[in-house]
Subunit: 378 residues, 2 copies
DNA sequence: GGCTGATCTGAATCATCTA
DNA sequence: GTAGATGATTCAGATCAGC
């Protein structure tokens, strides 16, 4: 499952046809490694970049941007600049491989997340949410000079400002959250216990292993089964393990052999879930469209029938062509519904009702019947 | 108490002896106004700058009513560069008037907070914490395209990296927080009800008035009685009102006359607390709400597992997204529980059971386990 | 006055498909 | 690409109307 491939091997293959990089860990620096992947090939990215600000020689590209600040903190400023250059480089590489409707998640702490967020904005990503991971069991502040650092911040962004059809499983998130919208503050324990990878001496393999529950929430929210999820700082492969379990493909980039080895073993041991368990809750948006006149043709509504709103303040009469008429307005169920209320818009399906045995029922119920028949007919 | 003084008036006085600007609102642009204050004269700054929301078209609620958006002229910026220049200018002005051991708080949303955080770091401030204000009652996401934006971010920073003796009332915070360290995630309602300033027509005076509880937490944590607290974007004077109540001096800078008038009346009506009452204040605590997917994420319930009612008449299968499926219905535990019984509503927590060692137990028992952990995290 | 249910509102970067 | 039509979408809490 999780085998390592060389860059050269990938490059000599046709990028179009080549899918050999799916479900693999690419060894190397993330900017260079990502150049080997085809543009627009990734559905979702999760990135947990280093936030050590004393980066030294690890940075890959010189900074090209002008410095217009004047202050007496040159040393410090230079290291922020270096971190910014590093950040822009890997974010640009990620942006190239991301599909137009793909999204990226980046996690960080107050040491680096403001640099990351600014860079995302500067490079043209469009921020969708910032999400707070509240830790149930954070490390205490030992010196008592600050608040206990009990959260980390995630940024969720689309590739472009006008990206509209990115994946967000709104109904699934809501249904899973006691039927109320999922908020931007999430509560999870940090990664400890059996989930935490240890070496033969009982020492943790990676210093900042993220909990699988966090990655699962992210992937369930913003990806679909079969999607390709990239992690440019793969570490010990939490992203890969969760992706495999949830029926997503992964690509990881990692420099350290010890992490790659641990990740590969870990991912190979994962048992993927079945199709039924992975089916995602969808809402009306995903249902096939039904035109109003189909209800007439099916005999569920007849021409001349009277429609009213739920409080019987307005009424409209159905015409044979699938339009309706109220006082001085005629048109679609939506147009007429909006007009009688004086609104710009209206969902006619839920606004208009018919009377059946003395009880009012929205015409949307007939649409449900039609949809069920459509589903049976394929 | 809260009188307005002209810049010229302040300037002609000796800056050393002059304290006439204490407990006043200075009318004008904040950068220019701050030039009139002596350097190193401020103990703590709270700043609620424009967020640069970049809103597109109008937004309507599902009932077609209009959302009252923040589209004020003061929140319009041409570009991120323009916003950054504005941010650096006012932060530099703040830095000059801040005492060497003073600290600054800035609040923002994901639209601007990354720019603010980066600028703070670039200008030599030293970040101490980022703090999350979790809203008990945030505005919903009306289109279902993102997570509900349920928090705002505060950054707390000292003037310099090597500042050691800034004020942090660690013991008071801990005592106020049930004798455990105060965390970086705080829970408060947004400012509504009697606290929200309204004009004679019942409309809100300021679009973004902050709750006094938030300011009280900030001042109790990071200032002492008698300290001078500056607010460069004073608005309707929440900072001034809380400062006066808590025995701190304030200085406010504000451009709009209507806000200044409202703030002055408001502050004059504040009754300062006595010395004894200034010691410990407590905040509201969370009512632990647990969603079904938390049990999955915690590994207490696994995707594919079968749930039944107490008499095993109905069964449902758990999916990875936190929804469940029975015969022809899918959705939340509540929705599906209601559907299989033919009811309108159902408490899925007590209706659905799992089998463990041949005995049925309601899934509510798992929730109890999770609640214990959540309680620890506040 | 008290209770019940309807209405209103809050820092919001909030569509998608067909012609 | 753009214009027009379809039709999807809200939580907590304060306030108010009506009994």
């Amino acid at each position: 499952m999780a085998s390592s491939v060389s860059l050269a091997e990938i490059r000599k293959l046709s990028p179009e046809a080549d899918k050999s990089w799916l479900d693999t860990i690419i060894k190397g620096d993330c900017v260079a490694a990502l150049e080997a992947l085809p543009a627009g090939s990734i559905d979702m990215i999760f990135a947990d970049p280093p936030y050590n600000l004393q980066l030294g020689g690890d940075l890959t590209r010189p900074d090209q941007s002008a410095v217009d600040a004047v202050n007496d903190h040159w040393d410090q400023f230079e290291s922020f600049q270096a971190y910014d250059a590093f950040t822009r480089a890997w974010l640009l590489a990620c942006r190239r491989v991301l599909k137009p409707n793909g999204t990226i998640w980046v996690i960080g702490s107050y040491h680096n997340i403001f640099r990351v967020g600014s860079s995302l904005q500067d490079l043209g990503f469009w921020l969708l949410n910032d999400v707070v991971w509240r830790k149930t069991n954070p490390m205490p502040n030992f010196r008592g000079r600050r608040f206990q650092n009990a959260h980390e911040t995630l940024i969720w962004a689309s590739r472009d400002a006008d990206a509209k059809s990115y994946t967000f499983n709104y109904e699934a998130m809501k249904a899973a959250n006691d039927d109320v919208q999922m908020r931007s503050d999430w509560l999870f324990p940090i990664c400890t216990g059996g989930e935490r990878l240890k070496d033969e001496n009982g020492r943790k393999v990676h210093p900042t292993q993220k909990p699988e529950a966090l990655l699962a929430r992210i992937m369930m929210a913003s990806s679909k089964p079969g999607d390709v999820v990239l992690d440019p700082f793969f570490g010990t492969g939490t992203t890969g393990a969760v992706a495999r379990r949830l029926g997503r493909h992964f690509v990881g980039v990692e420099r350290e052999d010890s992490y790659i080895d641990a990740a590969r073993k870990r991912i190979d041991a994962v048992e993927p879930l079945g199709k039924a368990e992975l089916t995602v809750m969808t809402g009306k948006r995903a249902e096939p469209r039904v035109a109003f006149n189909v209800l007439i043709e099916a005999g569920l509504i007849r021409p001349g029938q009277v429609l009213t709103d739920s409080r019987k303040r307005f009424k409209a009469i159905v015409r044979a062509d699938g339009t309706v008429v109220a006082d001085n307005v005629a048109g679609s169920i939506h147009k007429v519904g909006a007009a009688v209320q004086g609104f710009d818009a209206c969902n006619g399906w839920t606004f208009w009702h018919t009377e059946k045995d003395g009880e009012l029922a929205p015409i949307d119920e007939f649409r449900t019947i039609v949809r069920a028949e459509m589903a049976r007919a394929g």
